[in-house]
């Protein structure tokens, strides 16, 4: 068994696509119209056949209270691996991205948490060399 796809709820699919591609740097994999919405996924250009992230519309009534409570407590919904958290922090803050947690050394890794502007917090993580 392998993880092939995971999803996050986004306020606006087009705004989310812009953020996840233009700002974070992922590439669009699928964009299939489904009524008013789309089956919209992104992948990492470093791993184009790797797991896809589905940007799912946040219309379900359960989504808002669920995400509001998590964001209030600073809890990220997804984690991305990067080479250098401090460099990403500099690059992304220069582009106007806000972080709820600046780069933090947690022993065997460095982490930070950013706001994806679509209703979610995202953790970035760089493992330290063993």
């Amino acid at each position: 068994m392998r993880i092939r796809l995971t999803s996050i709820f986004v306020d606006d699919q087009r705004a989310a696509l812009a953020f996840y591609t233009d700002v974070l740097g992922f590439t669009k994999r699928h964009d299939i119209p489904l009524g008013d919405d789309a089956w919209l996924t992104v992948v990492s250009p470093e791993d184009p056949d790797g797991p896809e992230l589905l940007l799912e519309p946040a219309g379900h009534p359960a989504v808002k209270p669920y995400r509001d409570a998590l964001v209030e407590d600073g809890i990220p919904l997804v984690q991305f691996a990067v080479d250098d958290v401090a460099a990403e922090y500099e690059r992304l803050t220069a582009r106007g991205v806000t972080f709820t947690q600046p780069p933090t050394d947690i022993g065997n890794a460095v982490v930070a948490v950013l706001d994806d502007t679509c209703g979610n917090l995202v953790q970035i993580l760089a493992m330290k060399p063993a």
Partner: protein
């Protein structure tokens, strides 16, 4: 003032204050991860949330909403009141 002594009478709450002094303005998520990684303390988020409420009631922690997240800050004023009542240095002290 009794609230302050009660709030400080707990090792987890003292560690929370240590972490906020080290870096002020943390979310619940960040405080929990600091307690785990730096102190090996694996209390549940609910438990830490309750500890933060005790500290907030005592005035030792204040919260501020920035964007959609809530950040916790250390406030040392209740401790200053203690030192005012029982000065730590006094004229005539040998």
């Amino acid at each position: 003032m009794a609230d302050v002594f009660h709030a400080l009478d707990d090792e987890t709450r003292r560690l929370v204050l240590d972490e906020l002094v080290a870096r002020d303005g943390q979310t619940l998520f960040e405080i929990c991860s600091m307690l785990v990684t730096r102190h090996g303390l694996s209390s549940s988020r609910q438990a830490i949330s309750q500890h933060l409420a005790v500290l907030e009631d005592a005035g030792l922690v204040v919260t501020e909403r920035r964007g959609r997240s809530k950040f916790h800050y250390f406030d040392g004023r209740p401790l200053a009141e203690i030192a005012q009542r029982w000065p730590t240095t006094r004229e005539g002290t040998p």
